[in-house]
């Protein structure tokens, strides 16, 4: 069959055609919402109309057949409308309360997992990992699956002092807001990259490679028409590898993951914050990364036990102090947690008022 005529610069379709009639009617006129339970919330409009949302977990990688199953459910209960969230959940919107329980029943029967609303743990923002990225030093999807299996009760039932936003980045490029999450895993290299001098000269631009290094560890090597890396200065970020394929940094034995905590993106109560490094290194242990998962679960549990209601992980830690965080969690404090990159001035303590 002949191909249709291509069109350029049409942009995305207008969103209005995808809005359910109840949303079109009450667009911009919502009055309030209530979280009924971790699977369901209801939005009430000024008109009195009610819209129930049932949130369903997604592994983000979806086969087309799964999308079709979601569509079939939307056709049966939601007049064919559905939406996805920034954190990759799928949401079924119901304007008729009578359809709510049958919808949930069918979702359960089909094996879909409902939850993620309110003060608990919802889907994990993550990167492509070994599934599809050239720079990955771990697999993001596998880590997410292993983490969420272990933390599942916080998704569908058990509550926490506030939301705990999790994220996984498979390298320090961090596609996604990993650097501002309550608890996040970031994959790290720990060894200086190797350079293939033979292919370097044909494949890489010298100034670009030198400029790519945040610690100025790279200098020209005129004899080889290549570069050299100062091992004392290299922090293994891998940015030189990104701009120049002949630089190789993958190291199956020594690549691993670090854990950062205490970030947030909203401005509620306190300003948005970066996540900070607390565990510098855990080996890559596919398929389930048991130590990394255990560390995350441990931090969640210590937070759940100690934080005040409404405090996010970072707010709790700032109230009690980082020294207390390390004490309560029993996490060993290492040199890696002291900034020696760009933020030392702002992060060292300048008073004797700390806790023992």
């Amino acid at each position: 069959m002949a191909l249709p005529q291509r069109k350029t610069d049409v942009g995305p379709p207008h969103y209005k055609q995808f809005l359910p009639p109840i949303v079109q009617k009450n667009y911009g006129k919502w009055k309030y919402h209530e979280v009924i339970n971790p699977t369901t919330m209801v939005h009430v409009a000024e008109s009195g109309d009610k819209l129930w949302t049932v949130r369903v977990a997604s592994p983000r990688i979806l086969a087309t057949d799964t999308i079709r199953e979601q569509c079939d459910i939307a056709e049966k209960y939601c007049d064919g409308y559905l939406r996805y969230t920034t954190r990759n959940n799928v949401e079924f919107l119901v304007s008729d309360e009578k359809k709510l329980e049958p919808l949930k029943k069918e979702l359960t029967a089909k094996g879909f997992k409902m939850g993620g609303i309110g003060y608990g743990i919802t889907n994990v923002v993550h990167t492509q990992g070994w599934v599809h990225c050239h720079g990955a030093c771990t697999d993001a999807s596998g880590l997410v699956k292993a983490m969420m299996d272990e933390l599942y009760e916080y998704f569908d039932s058990k509550r926490l002092p506030n939301k705990v936003r999790l994220a996984v980045a498979c390298c320090v490029n961090m596609c996604g807001a990993v650097h501002c999450s309550d608890i996040a895993v970031v994959a790290v290299h720990t060894k200086v990259p190797e350079i293939n001098h033979e292919t370097f000269k044909n494949m890489c631009e010298l100034p670009t490679v030198i400029g790519s290094c945040p610690t100025r560890a790279i200098s020209p090597d005129p004899a080889k028409k290549s570069i050299k890396i100062n091992e004392q200065k290299c922090m293994y970020c891998g940015n030189c590898f990104t701009v120049c394929p002949p630089i190789s940094i993958k190291n199956p034995e020594y690549d691993g993951v670090a854990i950062v905590v205490g970030g947030k993106i909203n401005s509620l109560r306190s300003n948005p914050k970066f996540s900070k490094l607390v565990i510098p290194y855990i080996s890559n242990e596919p398929p389930r990364w048991p130590k990394a998962v255990a560390a995350i679960k441990h931090i969640v549990e210590v937070y759940a036990k100690n934080a005040k209601k409404n405090e996010r992980v970072g707010e709790w830690i700032e109230r009690i102090g980082w020294e207390k965080f390390f004490k309560l969690t029993g996490i060993e404090f290492t040199f890696q947690s002291i900034d020696d990159f760009t933020f030392m001035r702002d992060t060292m303590r300048t008073a004797s008022t700390f806790k023992w």
């Binding site: 890489c204 631009e205 670009t208 790519s212 990104t242 701009v243 120049c244």
Partner: protein
């Protein structure tokens, strides 16, 4: 300047940089408009016309985009040569 003449000059500019410097679109626009005294918008228009028919192409490497002369492989894939 006639648009065809401008296109020839743009092509020559890209050819001269081949293997030496990755040209961004703005490098070409700036280079040509300075050398030839042509408004940047006209250079951009000619450049876009060339890209639309595969005379030049957008390329990508090391996290950044550039403009270059297409490879035979690209032209074959697009059905522009046999």
């Amino acid at each position: 300047m006639e648009i065809e003449e401008l296109k020839t000059k743009i092509y020559a500019f890209c050819e001269a940089a081949k293997g030496k410097k990755k040209l961004k679109e703005k490098d070409i626009i700036k280079g040509l408009s300075e050398a030839e005294g042509i408004p940047g918008d006209e250079v951009k228009k000619a450049l876009r016309a060339m890209i639309d028919v595969g005379k030049l192409m957008y390329s990508y490497g090391g996290g950044a985009s550039s403009v270059e002369i297409p490879s035979e492989e690209y032209l074959r894939e697009k059905g522009l040569i046999k």
